[in-house]
Symmetry: C2
Subunit: 207 residues, 2 copies
């Protein structure tokens, strides 16, 4: 379908032959948080042409990165294969690398809380806590829980319940804190916190 192969017997080149075209990795990013329908992908990847999305989905399916499945109720849903899920490592590495690009601010770009969930897990990967610590986050009107326990970080978007400590902030403040580019004091000056601020430090602050 799309890309010409680089024709190089090199792992990077072959990876890029597979997921290197425009939009492909963003599609995988969306599916990292669970199966999605075609329409949801169109909505989330604002601006993608529908023919391009259809082409990418077919290409990713043919290379074994994603699978088409009958939906629970109707239609089809797209999901990552086990090998496709292993792209999480690469995607998280690129997200960590992007820190200087992100702390410069949102500008006029669009924003989805789901992207923040992926980014927080990437930035906090390797961090563990016993006993588990939970922090509520309200961003762009969407509520989520960031939990760190012995298994590492995990973000739940739109959970049923709400933890005691809650931070209401712009994505910049939360990302800056998680990336270590902002002190807790700086972040607090850009946010509103209810509950115990020590929880905030414990979860999002430096080690």
């Amino acid at each position: 379908m799309s890309t010409r192969s680089y024709g190089q017997y090199c792992g990077l080149a072959r990876s890029l032959d597979t997921v290197g075209d425009r939009w492909s990795l963003l599609i995988v990013r969306e599916l990292l948080r669970g199966p999605m329908r075609y329409g949801e992908l169109v909505a989330s990847l604002d601006g993608i042409a529908t023919n391009l999305l259809a082409g990418r989905l077919r290409s990713l399916e043919s290379t074994g990165v994603i699978e088409r499945r009958p939906g629970e109720t109707s239609g089809v849903v797209y999901t990552l294969t086990p090998w496709g899920s292993e792209l999480r490592e690469s995607i998280e590495a690129l997200i960590r690398w992007s820190t200087p690009l992100m702390i410069s601010g949102r500008g006029g770009d669009s924003f989805e809380p789901r992207w923040l969930a992926v980014a927080l897990e990437a930035l906090l990967r390797g961090r563990t806590a016993t006993p588990p610590a939970e922090l509520g986050l309200e961003v762009d009107g969407v509520f989520m829980i960031l939990r760190i326990d012995a298994d590492g970080p995990d973000v739940i978007v739109e959970p049923e319940r709400r933890p005691e400590t809650i931070m209401i902030a712009e994505p910049e403040a939360i990302l800056g804190l998680a990336a270590g580019a902002l002190t807790v004091e700086d972040a607090l000056s850009m946010a509103s916190v209810h509950g115990d601020r020590r929880v905030l430090s414990a979860v999002l602050g430096g080690a």
Copy 2:
């Protein structure tokens, strides 16, 4: 110059805005092993149009990924900035992900020993050895030393001296062994080894 921005306030999208166009990450891969001249890049990235290479180099320089410097004797050399070097993590993750794409064999693709050096470091990252273990590799007529010590793996291409144990093989056999997709016996049947085979197991074989 090139890419349209995705317009998303997401670390992955912003990373791809910066290094996501065709050839960009392959240029970074080349520079991971040291500064290179324009002509060397043209030769190594077989198939890249010269105007494209010039454009990518300008773009990568303007975003702070690489730097132009006066060469030791004459001309200019391109080198990674510290931030650019941090792409190693992402590139190595993509290389590890490519394992299924690589063990299928070389096909008609071109091959550079330098790419194997990067791949071996990616696949063996995290592995350490005390005392240090050294294995010589001869691939495509090029000699290299793979050394694993307390700091992790390191590959030297075209070294001065030669270690005692040397494996002469196709890249597929070496990669398959390093990736754990081949047993030592299988790899041996595809290769010729001089010296102590236990060194081969210790360096390239499973833990």
